[in-house]
């Protein structure tokens, strides 16, 4: 499940430089295409600050 999302994200845009390690997905490496958080409150706070949406990926590792 996670792998399919990874492929889609990589299709969706170029990887961001820097901070990829800090904000990586807990289960897969997307090369920093998007910054990942693990709590809704954190993700919403950053999205608000940066004028972005929150992309929820709701699944399991395997």
């Amino acid at each position: 499940m996670r792998t399919s999302i990874l492929v889609l994200l990589l299709c969706g845009g170029a990887a961001m430089a820097g901070n990829a390690e800090k904000f990586k997905h807990p289960h897969f490496a997307d090369g920093g295409v998007i910054r990942w958080y693990t709590t809704l409150a954190e993700a919403q706070a950053v999205a608000k600050k940066e004028g972005k949406l929150v992309f929820i990926e709701y699944g399991r590792e395997q």
Partner: protein, 241 residues
Amino acid sequence: MGNLAIGLAADCDNPEREVQQIMRANLPGATGLPFVGFITHDGKWVEGYSGFKNSGDFQVVMEKADKTPYLQASKATRKKLAGIVKRADKAAAKGDWKTVVRGAKDAAKTTGRCPERKQLAALMSKAHAWAGAELKRALKLARTSDDVAESRKVLMNVKKRLAGEPDADDAAAGLKALRQLAKIHKLEAAGKAPEGIREKSAAKFKDTRWAAAFSKADADEEEEPEEEEESDESEIEIGGG
């Protein structure tokens, strides 16, 4: 994708109650993992789906999410930003980058996409280009003169006008290097400079542009070609403000 959204990796076996509620409410009856959704920062549903999607179909979802009106700046925000852009534009024409930076900081307190925000970003790019050219000039002055005063003046100006920006931090590092360089000049003039003092000082600034300040250069020495693509610095007025 990174320009559109912040990711939330939610574990379906141990979800936050609110996330679970959002997914259940907006993808009723969904069974195939993963559940995927775009929401606003305050929880409004934008787009989503459950189960596998190929890259083309995912792209369609992403494009729909990207067009959501929720991401657009409000009229009030646009009006405020228009005023900031007007002031910043006039300031930029005079080389008053401090006003441009202040405007960008005020704009950062607002949210929403709009042309005014892009205009401000373009003005900030000009400010950074100006600062980059000035930092380069300061380094050249430091390398070609036995007096750091002129170089220091240039760096102080960058630090002041781009306060809060990475360029100001770069200028501050340069000022630190100049203080060391001034000490070296004094020691050299007195014939008391320890052997290798320039090399040792340069090592302290390793991986910064300022390491080069400790190696002398002729004023007419040709500069190394830029690795990065040059911006339209020649069109940017330097000085004033």
